[in-house]
Amino acid sequence: MRHSFVLHLMLLISLAIGCKRQAANPPAPQPPVPPAVTKLPPAESNQPSTPVIEAQDNEQPSAAVPPASDSADANDSIANDAAEIEPSASSTGEAVAATERPPSERFLLLTRDGPLVIDVVLRIDNEPYTHALEQLVDRVFHDLEEPDGKTASWAAMIDDPRFSYGQFGNLAPEDADQKSRLIDMYDTNRNGLVDHDELPRFLTRNVGGSRSFSLRSSNEFRGDNRTRSPVRRLLDANHDGAITADEMQAAPNRLLERDADDDEILVLADFKDSVAQEQSQMSNQRRVNAPDTAILIDERTRWGYVSYALQETYAYGERIGATDIPLTPELVELLDANNNKLIDNNEVQKLAEVPPHLVLEVAFFNANEATQSATPRILILSACESLASVLDTARQHPTRLSFDLPGANVEFFVNEDPSLANVSQTINAQFSMLDADNNGYLDMEEYSGQILGIQIPFEALDADGDGMIFEQEVAALLEQRQAVVRAQIRARAADQEDALFRALDTNGDGRLTAREIYGAPAVLKALDDDQDGQLQSHEIPGSMAVGFVRGDANQDNALLVMPAVSRRGDDETLPAWFMGMDSNGDGDISQREFLGSREKFQQLDTDGDGFVSGDEASALP
């Protein structure tokens, strides 16, 4: 909490020295639309400026529609962002308006042409993101208190049945040795008692550094996502390393070969064949000796590493000058305390203070009975002027957003374990499937020992021991088990696996839809920079992504793969019948999806492009 406060203060201080922010109107939750941005004049300061672009008063940044019952809270919380600005002493001695801002985290994203300074405001269930874990720790600590008010011992706690298969997951020590090892692991001050500050480590099993937010990088596809692109390999039918004009024309048919369920929707996983093959490829990956793609800036930051990472990435190990980072050259001037036109090792710490290039908001919601389901969302709160042109063409979906930088595409996404997002619906679906005789409960015969992929003994679910598992019993236990993963947000930055897939996915929804599949030849041709009729790997724009996720860390392989945006089922601006008929959820009705006669299709398809779009459907009286 204290750390967050310092960061917020730093953020505000930075406004005075480099980046003037207009008090933002609260971006009320809206259906997803591209964010409207406004350029603001540079700050009046002797310091080099990095003007900020923010949401216009009347056109707010996009956001998914949050749970109706929570929308007022959401508005309030964001509105406070602006109102909380109060005077405060800056590092330059100037006063800026500041008080506490909503908790955020800062990180550097090392894009091809320069590092971006990104602040991300994080929320869980409309609360500052740190609250959930703090509250959980408080609650557990309180629950553990002995009747006489004394603190519980670790030894007693490990024996508690709630730790074998109950509230805190499977942690049943098989013998005394295991038990003492467990105690060693979590009783960090060796006093034998469960202290308040030892609980986060225990509850999280040290995932994400036992903190509410963590960030890491992966070099898995670093610098290699164009040559090893599965889509490029598929389209390059003659294996000559380039996609020729003929291969461009043949691209739709080649792509459709992979559409195993013939729904004219392709996701990246459709281009892969077997788990074992994937694993063998993964284990063959070269270990890229390169700095991290993204670096968290907080009180634990190792500044020597930051300096090394920047120099290795942008200046062949030398100190960085403005020409080394053409995307964000102003950083040199902002950091250069000794005016030698270079960023010296001891100057990088100021990165904690400079104005951000981008401020994002990431929000997760806890499903409850009223909302049933609440999709996490990500949106841009503000951006500096140097990113204005790229943000004009940003593609925004509730769960992901992307924009193009010179030579590379950058995407941000949120994702969470579906069972967290949609507990009651998920349980209900599983229940109706398992409950063969439809009598409203599961008996021993019907229950296979696991639900939602989690092994849970029958007895653990049958809380009242009546030999029947009811839906509410499953829901209660799962909710307890999920409390910890709900309280942690983890992020990972990485080059995306397939840069060409990303380039063909022109609307950035993570899927190649019918329009994009049939439009592939034109996109491929446009990427051919030198117009020699062949698309070479180096002509494909690079692609990196930062994912923010909640869920079991063991599921990271699935969670940190950017999820495709599923159907537009929540777009209330379109007629319901249109949504129903758009069976593959790609936002168009193709001829084969259409349920009526050919004549009716032609009447609706007024632009004659072979699809009934949402606009065309809405025009139906």
Binding site: L256, E257, R258, D259, A260, D261, D262, D263, V267, L268, A269, D270, K272, D273, S274, V275, A276, Q277, E278, Q279, S280, M282, S283, N284, P418, A429, Q430, S432, M433, A436, N438, G453, N557, A558, V561, P563, A564, S566, R567, G569, P575, W577, F578, M579, G580, M581, S583, N584, G585, Q591, R592, E593, F594, L595, G596, R598, K600, L604, L620, P621
Partner: protein, 516 residues
């Protein structure tokens, strides 16, 4: 320059001409085979004094061909287009269209995967099963020669060919299990009956079985695996099989053939693979032809489909022989075989009869086949208006085998018998169908994509009812059906719900659940 251009053009023209000539030759050969199949069947009908069924009507045909070639019933738009098409060769065209569809290799992979890994899907084996399935799909998508598929399958070691290697581990690398399974799948032989004693009906002896099993005696799981799901196989230099309860080593011997020549190089599996694809192996093309015939006609020319041998003659020996030769002459081309068979008059006969049916082995009417659990699920899914594709990203591989709901449905509905014309529906299956989430999703007004879509002002009530018939039964409703269903809906206080009732009734009809 002009000259070079002319030469290039000439070469191109010559190449195109050759290709066209080859296509013509194939078409001629196919037409002759189609005529021959129909002729030989008709001869038998005449000899037996049997009147065949009439030609299937268009709705019956379009539903059947979609299910047989792509594993799922046609969309409403597919049915409309076919019914409205007035061209005389429209059946031929739709067959071509479906053979080119990406669902064709998916369905064949499904079919063969079920043959190779029968029974329910074991959750722990799911990754491996998906590997086999995806490998098979790639082979069928490229229309790989069938003998080549089998050879590759038999010599798989792992790595890039992890699919087939996983099949070996699913049988625990035990020579007798691999022998029994591969003989059934690729040779159509039940030689495992000779595992402990001579085959009761056929001529197989214990030595034949163990001689064949000896080809798999030197397999071992590689110790250099790089992950728990990775499968690698190595062929060792030693390892033998012995007759049960004895120490008599049985050297490798091809079924019904000679021992392996001493000059033969390669591992035992390579030796088997070479023989498998050679002209010395009479069983491979026979087994493939019989299986594909059964795939379309509901039962093989030899029944059961994997029990070929002198003890179990084909219903039409001449036809079986000629068709096998034809298959070999096409280069073991499975797609061409299916194309040929589905263009016959026999395949396009109706399943409806106004008299007592003739013996099924005479193929005088189309057999009524049960849908497999996967066909049923995928068809329901298609009608439900498509659920969002929320197939979990499981280790980055996408396969509908990982769809938990589909998995649970298939697990319950899995047929136990191997014969598609026998329906083994138990209470659990019936309950699943009546109460299952899929039926609910498809027939509840607020959930079903198709019902929500039909609420559009685009449609009259008659058109709505007609669309439901086209989407479920692939035919237009009769006048009586229209009037009674429309009356039911119009008289209801909640018309959307009443339309859901119509959908529910259609989905629970035998006409829906059967491939006829």
């Amino acid at each position: 320059m002009i000259r070079i251009g002319s030469i290039t053009l000439s070469i191109l023209y010559a190449a195109l001409s050759l290709s066209a000539m080859a296509d013509d030759a194939n078409a001629t050969r196919r037409a002759a085979m189609i005529e021959r199949i129909d002729g030989l069947l008709a001869e038998r009908w005449e000899a037996e004094g049997i009147e065949p069924a009439t030609r299937s009507d268009d709705g019956e045909f379009v539903r059947r061909i979609h299910l047989d070639l792509t594993g799922v019933i046609p969309r409403v738009a597919d049915v409309r287009e076919f019914l409205e098409d007035e061209r005389s060769d429209k059946r031929k065209r739709v067959i071509e269209q479906l053979l080119a569809s990406p669902r064709y290799p998916t369905h064949l992979a499904n079919t063969w995967r079920q043959v190779m890994i029968p029974g329910g899907l074991d959750l722990e084996q799911l990754q491996n099963v998906a590997g086999v399935q995806n490998w098979l799909r790639r082979q069928f998508a490229q229309n790989m020669r069938y003998d080549r598929i089998v050879s590759d399958f038999l010599v798989a070691t792992g790595g890039g060919e992890a699919g087939p290697a996983l099949y070996y581990t699913s049988l625990e690398l035990r020579p007798e299990k691999l022998a029994a399974s591969t003989a059934r799948i690729f040779l159509g032989l039940q030689i495992e009956c000779a595992e402990c004693h001579p085959h009761p009906f056929d001529h197989w002896k214990q030595e034949d079985f163990w001689g064949y099993a000896a080809f798999f005696a030197r397999l071992q799981q590689s110790e250099n695996r790089r992950g728990p799901a990775e499968v690698g196989l190595v062929d060792l230099d030693s390892g033998e099989v012995t007759l049960p309860d004895s120490e008599t080593v049985v050297p490798p011997r091809y079924p019904g053939g000679n021992p392996v020549s001493k000059e033969a190089g390669g591992t035992r599996r390579v030796q088997l693979a070479i023989w498998m694809a050679s002209r010395d192996n009479p069983y491979l093309p026979k087994a493939a032809v019989n299986r594909m015939w059964a795939h379309l006609f509901g039962r093989g020319l030899i029944d059961p489909v994997d029990d070929i041998g002198g003890h179990n003659p084909a219903s039409h020996p001449q036809l079986f022989e000629e068709l096998t030769n034809y298959f070999v002459s096409t280069g073991f081309d499975i797609k061409e075989l299916l194309r040929t068979l589905s263009n016959t008059k026999a395949y396009q006969l109706s399943s409806r009869l106004d008299r007592e049916p003739s013996p099924p082995e005479l193929f005088a009417s189309m057999a009524i086949k049960t849908m497999t659990a996967e066909q049923l699920y995928d068809s329901l899914d298609r009608i439900a208006g498509g659920r969002p594709a929320e197939i979990p990203n499981f280790l980055n591989i996408r396969s509908n085998l990982f769809d938990q709901q589909r998995l649970a449905f298939v697990g319950k509905m899995q047929m136990r018998g191997s014969n598609a014309t026998e329906f083994d529906a138990g209470v659990l299956q019936a309950l699943t169908l009546l109460n299952g989430a899929n039926i609910n999703a498809a027939s509840q007004a607020e959930q079903s994509g198709v019902l929500i879509a039909l609420d559009s002002p685009l449609f009259s009530m008659e058109e709505r009812v007609e669309t439901l018939f086209l989407g479920t039964l692939s035919r237009r409703p009769g006048k009586d059906e229209v009037s009674s269903f429309v009356a039911h809906v119009n008289e209801s206080s909640d018309q959307r719900e009443a339309l859901g009732d119509v959908m529910w009734a259609l989905l629970n009809s035998a006409e829906f659940a059967l491939n006829h």
